[in-house]
């Protein structure tokens, strides 16, 4: 049987590219937040600045999808288990915050969309850790 060496991965298919794209996404988000705190910005400019993270997000999505396609069967299973863990938790978090909002006054300085977005990635990484532990 001939041995086929693994194909050379393109830059987009390398995990480092996804990490860089993810870091860029967070960086652009932070920059957008800083800019939006600037007084005297026009409404159109504010909306455009708020939409800025869509560009690195698109880049990240592309890299992430390419990386997923490049994974082997166990790695894909681990990814699926991580998402299966993170997805319901994310819904639960949003539901919980919605209900708590009705029960008590949640400060928008602590519990607005700009704070809550960080939880799903935490759930995802926790799901990844749990799934990998099962197969190690």
């Amino acid at each position: 049987m001939t041995v086929r060496p693994q194909q050379e991965k393109s830059i987009v298919q390398r995990p480092a590219f996804g990490i860089i794209a993810g870091a860029l996404w967070v960086a652009v988000y932070m920059i957008s937040r800083m800019i939006l705190k600037t007084p005297d910005l026009g409404q159109t400019t504010k909306i455009l600045v708020a939409l800025l993270p869509a560009i690195p997000c698109g880049l990240f999505l592309w890299a992430f999808m390419r990386n997923i396609q490049n994974l082997d069967e166990l790695e894909r299973k681990v990814q699926m288990e991580a998402f299966a863990f993170a997805f319901p938790l994310t819904i639960f978090l949003l539901m919980l915050l919605g209900l708590l909002q009705l029960a008590v006054e949640l400060s928008p300085d602590n519990w607005s969309y700009r704070h809550v977005w960080a939880f799903p990635p935490v759930f995802y990484f926790a799901g990844l850790a749990i799934a990998w532990r099962r197969y190690k």
Partner: protein
């Protein structure tokens, strides 16, 4: 599912990484199969059997309850 993969790999003198490269999977996947924590797909199982020039059932033995 029981497997003799570790034994067969050792007979060939391959590391997990070398076997993984020959199969086009990650080293973690080879390890998970060897430690019987993961059951490979039929495609991968056939690939393994072909690599060792053996029958599928000589490498993997399902445990029927």
């Amino acid at each position: 599912m029981k497997t003799k993969l570790r034994l067969l790999r050792a007979e060939q003198g391959w590391s997990q990484g070398e076997l993984a490269e020959r199969l086009g999977v990650s080293r973690q996947t080879v390890n998970a199969i060897e430690t019987e924590k993961y059951e490979p797909s039929l495609t991968l199982a056939f690939k393994i059997a072909r690599l060792f020039e053996m029958k599928l059932e000589d490498i993997f033995q399902p445990e029927f309850e």
